[in-house]
Amino acid sequence: MAVQTSGLGFVGQSVKRVEDERLLIGAGRYVADVRPEGGLHAAFVRSPIAHGRIVSIDTSEAEALDGVVAVFTGADIVERTNPFVPMLMLPGMYTPLFWAMSDERVRHVGDPVALVVAESRALAEDGAELVVVDYDDLPAVPDMATAMQSHTPQLWEKANGNVLLEAVDTYGEVDQVFARADRVITETFRCQRQANQPMETRGTVVEVDADTGHLTITSATQAPHFLKWAAAALTTKQTARESGQALRGMRERLDAFRSGAGSFFGDNQESLQSQDNRGMVSQLRRDRSLLKHLPGMALGVLSSEDFPTVVCQDIGGGFGSKGSTPREEIAVVAAAKALGRTIQWIEDRVENLLDGGQAREEEFTISMAVDDDGTLRGMRVEADIDHGAYPGFPVGAGITKSMQKVYFPGMYRWEAYEMRSRIIATNKGKHIPYRGPWANETWVRERMLDVVARELGMTPVELRQQNMMGAEDFPTRMVTGPTLDETASTRATLVRALELLDHDQIAQWRAEADAAGRKLGVGIACYHEAAPGPPDFFEALSPGSDLFAQEEAKATVDADGTITVFTSQSPHGQSHETTYAQVAADEFGVDIGDIRVVWGNTDTTRFSFLGTGGSRGGPIGGGAIRKTSRSLREQVVSQAATMLEADPADVTITGGVIHVAGVPSRGLSYAEVAGAAAADQGIEDGAVFEAVESYAGKGDGGWSCATHVAVVDVDLATGQVAIPRYLVVEDCGPIINPAIVDGQVRGGVAQGIGAVFYEHAAYDGDGNMIATTYLDYLVPTSTEIPHIEIDHLETLTPGENDFRGVGEGGMIGSPAALTNAVEDALASLGAEVRDQYLPPSKILELAGVIEPEE
């Protein structure tokens, strides 16, 4: 493709995507495109019932089928693996231990109970159909209300009923504030279950080296390093005795282990030591089996001579769902190790809807204590999260709870706030992070503010403006603790959005709609999110969680002058290859085409716990790339200065020429400088200069903020909702690539439109999922998503690194803006919107056109 030359710098320009040069010609390489010679294929047998005991499994017919190589039952896999252990525990929370496949009990429709390995995927599926499983039904727990009834069976024996967490977080004198306020307004809001649904399902290829047994796992994962260690720890099963024997005299293995995760832990001693141990204490109080499994697992890992290599190539989206290590992937690793053969598993869409991750099914009762003059004073929230059957791994419903706790107050002044949270197990697919895992706090708060405004006789804008903190308040703190600095620009985004709204046009649209028997409404929503946030955000979230804000990058210059940057991110649509080349090219003073971006290989990239997720790619991954590039440039400049007999401070780089400022004619190329250094050091090829730096997130950071405005036009005959205008004013700081940022915002808003009007991961009363195809789970299409208008503020941060995150925001603001707009449209008909999901039938109920369903 055309060379994109450097002008004023690449950062800030809509540089065309490097990725597209292969992706658009059909030359991308997604996990299903990886076809190792002689590889086998896996298909899972899954539970058809929501809750039951496995009485027997007969695999003989499947095993007899031509082309079937092996069948593993749940028991076979349990025998070969360790359980998924609790991660990111919270005080008072019980996290069930569970296995890669189920051997005794099934807990949701789709729970994997047998694994068929065959010569083709079709044959593996044929084999799966021949596996006969006899179940003893248990009463299904299809929803949270049933889960908490006293006669309902427990999903997890060692939990407190089906409640896995019950927590209260209090900030300020809540009772006093509520007693003194003029009035208290209380409402209940419900959000339906949704599913992340990337267009590429989950999948993995586990290759076993015939000579060494080394595993190479090519995976569609957002978190390659976590997967590497999860695969190592969960499929290395040794008794303490075996491991002890293997360990004796093998200090080098400990060193090998330390050099892997060790560098990471070394940099994060402080975070690790400040971890909240109360989570572990409450876990062990309920279930000591962790102590039984941990020593064997740890010794198994320590005594291993070799750890898997995880490789990520092109990945077809994730939205959080590929951050969790799939149970199926661990089962496939165990099977590949057992057979010594390469196995590929590509999930189908039905499986992905059943078990690829679900989210957002939460119910909230919220009370706001307010004065009649419109002053917000106190807030109480009760939140119930439907956890489904199994925890996400490593990030489960606990992180949703913690983030909601911190974010709920939003940018408003509160004297006091209290949140009661429960996480409740049900017989459904697992609750995992979905683009802005906490986003329902914004939906509920912003929805509730409209309710309060109406009751007080104010407009939604007046109530927000009266209570929202802004520049004159900073620095200050949220009632939950985190510092708000000038990057907390939510109010500025609101002001800008109001400027951009054409009120006359809206009035005209409203009149036209009324005349035509339709209803027009306007909805506003405001939020801020830690992307990555100030250091004390993580303190407020959970002590030691600043681990998430850490990431290293590596950069090298080879003897031939090639510049390579290595990221620990795992891109799956966010265009890191382009944006990181932009950031690095500006630092190195070269063309974007001179930067090679390497990702996704755990042998060459640095450890990262989360990989890509949490809007971390810009600020944290990008910050690490910039810092590392800067550091490596210094090394190059220092060498060049010697060669040029100049002071390094006088050396600059333009267009790839390293020269004394003002004397570009007497310059050196990267190849010349690296070549000379290589000769000095006796290096023939490979890296001559290398730098590793960490984005530490302990001083930099800041908030990403936005205001969303939705204008909806409701057809009272059909219940269809059109969106004649949708506006986002957002602030993610200085933008690396405007077209890519706009794409992130629009994609997020589209998912929010899906959430409100189309998408429901619905279950019936027996725990059967009833949206298991795209005929029932409705992903919005090009005719449902309108033009989405975007305006940017670019507030700088005070720290060295001023990029801020933008991946999640579109989806955080949109459900609130849309549902507020619907209530505004239907207010004259007495509608009260309390559900996030508003399909046409619900719209007609709200409008009084049809009777509510029983």
């Binding site: 065309k16 658009l24 010609i25 059909g26 079709a122 989206g317 794409g743 992903v779």
Partner: protein, 165 residues
Amino acid sequence: MTTVPIGTETEVTLRVNGEPRTISVEARTDLADALREGAGLTGTHLGCEHGVCGACTVLVDGEPARSCLMLAVSATTHEITTIEGLADGDEMHPVQRAMYEAMSFQCAFCSPGFMMSAVALLDREPNPTVEQIREELSGNLCRCTGYESIVRGVERAAAILRGEG
């Protein structure tokens, strides 16, 4: 009625991107699997395998078709075009170039299907309105972009094909 045991393969010749491809398929093998596994053309993607997402869209005699819903054995009498058949050597097809310039995609897993649908639309209607583009693309699901950048890509492609680009 005669029955054929599972796994029985037969050789068929498909005309793909202008070239004959002889590949071994079962009676039940769908066109998508035949293209991906038999012909090694992995640019055609499988998103749902039940005919809704459109990622597997190819052109059959110039008309867009879901290759996950068509049997390979029924494709032998037709001219099949896949994403790999669009470019002219190193030169991207105008639709691909337009999508590059409009930065239409993110993860791009859905992109082959969208581009095949766009090629078919522009072949039939060189001057589509935005509404026509949105209507035509509504058989292809994208989870990343919110569609706007893809619609712009098709508008751009139309301009290039009209000689305005």
